[in-house]
């Protein structure tokens, strides 16, 4: 795994920051609250303010900015396209708002994952969903699906990088089919392999 693929929504990095010490449930609630704030507090000034807070929170974790920025490079095209579209359709203020909100939430989510072992996240989700068990909901598969989702992000980014490199090596870097087709096929294949692995380990048999 290349370092920048694993940096985005990265794996847990042990540390002693205040965010490391905060319970996983509180951090999940905080991320949820941040999402609500970005929806309810509109305008470019609000987005910039939330982004500043997100930058401060992320910096306080002690996680590597260099690796995170390299990881964010993969999203740069998407963010640039979004910004261009909204600047064209709704004006520059709206573009700043959309991109600022997205960046802030990505940084806060990364701060959550680098300061929280996945097992703690799963436990917090199971605890939060426990009242629904009375209605017959099985919480463990939901929690496992959550952790698999986090695990899949760096894997998918790695496949995207390898696919891009292969297209460049064949001189097809400008051909979207040469990049997208193998990417989709490999991601689906990896999903099937992961399904086989879960099946082989008896996950879902309980």
């Amino acid at each position: 795994m290349t370092s920048h693929a694993s940096a985005l929504l990265g794996a847990y990095v042990p540390g002693r920051s205040w965010l490391h010490r905060l319970p996983a449930g509180a951090k999940l609630l905080g991320l949820f609250a941040a999402g609500l704030v970005t929806m309810l507090w509109r305008g470019p000034a609000a987005s910039v303010a939330v982004l500043v807070v997100a930058v401060a929170v992320f910096t306080s974790t002690g996680a590597s900015w260099r690796l995170t920025l390299r990881g964010l490079r993969g999203l740069a095209i998407t963010l640039a396209l979004l910004a261009a579209f909204h600047a064209w359709q709704n004006g520059p203020g709206r573009a700043v708002e959309i991109v600022g909100d997205l960046l802030a939430l990505i940084l806060l989510a990364t701060a959550l994952t680098v300061t929280t072992p996945v097992q703690d996240l799963i436990d917090a989700i199971v605890l939060g969903l426990r009242p629904l068990e009375r209605l017959g909901l099985r919480t463990e598969p939901i929690a496992l699906a959550f952790s698999l989702m986090i695990r899949a992000i760096p894997s998918t980014l790695l496949i995207a990088e390898e696919t891009r490199d292969a297209a460049i090596a064949r001189g097809l870097q400008r051909d979207p089919r040469a990049r997208l087709t193998p990417l989709v096929i490999r991601v689906v294949r990896r999903a099937r392999e992961t399904g086989d692995a879960l099946h082989a380990r008896g996950i879902g048999d309980d």
Binding site: P14, V118, Q119, S147, L148, S155, L198, A200, G202
Partner: protein
């Protein structure tokens, strides 16, 4: 040792023009401590291995492990049979080494703290001491395959099925993983292109075009495979 029994087990897959036979009806009993499956790519050896824990279901016939049908009693079979895949990156489903081992231990260790402590012990037992908080992405190929194997062994299986477990490894790691597999007290079913490793098994089967074309001692089977390859 366990008894793995194939009774007229065949596997066919649908195609645009009808169906293709991956495995012709196979009747076979495996009771040895180690059995190698060797053959060309696409010959059907992985299919034979995947039938053992229900990753592939027979189109006709049955496959049983110690009398348990792999289709009707799949959950019980999977508790007895551990599976090691070629690419450990697909097998390791949790972000850190400790969490991945802990996933294997969730049935035997319901308490989270006990589970994580047990996971550390499992890691140490397999030469991965102190790896608990290491990201699975940051491990070398050999370390990942050792971790995948440790995750399988943590569940206490009676049978270990390994599908080309050394194919992606360099020579040193290939030997390390091979030595560990051959030293297991569990029954081993090993799909491999490594003929040196296959030769260390008690019994070997040569597979070609969905059929077993040789069944005997490993040395004989390796010779036979070399003659038809």
């Amino acid at each position: 040792m366990s008894t793995i029994r194939y009774t007229e087990a065949s596997v066919r897959v649908p195609t645009t023009t009808g169906a293709r036979t991956i495995l012709h009806p196979l009747t076979l009993e495996l009771t040895e401590s180690s059995v190698a499956l060797i053959g060309a790519n696409g010959s059907g050896k992985s299919t034979i291995a995947r039938l053992v824990n229900g990753l592939v279901e027979p189109t006709s016939g049955t496959v049983e492990v110690d009398g348990l049908d792999v289709v009707r009693q799949g959950a019980a079979v999977r508790r007895k049979v551990g599976f090691v895949f070629t690419d450990p990156a697909a097998q390791l489903v949790m972000p850190t080494a400790g969490e991945d081992i802990a996933l294997s231990l969730r049935r035997t260790h319901p308490d989270k703290h006990e589970r994580l402590a047990a996971a550390e012990r499992v890691l140490a037992d397999h030469g991965l001491e102190g790896f608990g908080e290491r990201s699975v992405h940051g491990l070398s190929g050999g370390e990942r395959q050792l971790l995948a194997l440790a995750g399988v062994l943590a569940t206490g299986p009676d049978v270990v099925v390994a599908d080309e477990p050394t194919t992606l490894l360099d020579l040193a790691n290939s030997r390390r993983v091979g030595d560990l597999l051959m030293s297991l007290p569990q029954q081993l079913v090993l799909v491999t292109h490594d003929l040196e490793l296959a030769a260390r098994c008690e019994r070997a089967l040569v597979v070609a075009d969905g059929r077993i074309v040789h069944d005997g001692s490993a040395a004989e089977a390796v010779e036979r495979y070399r003659s038809i390859a």
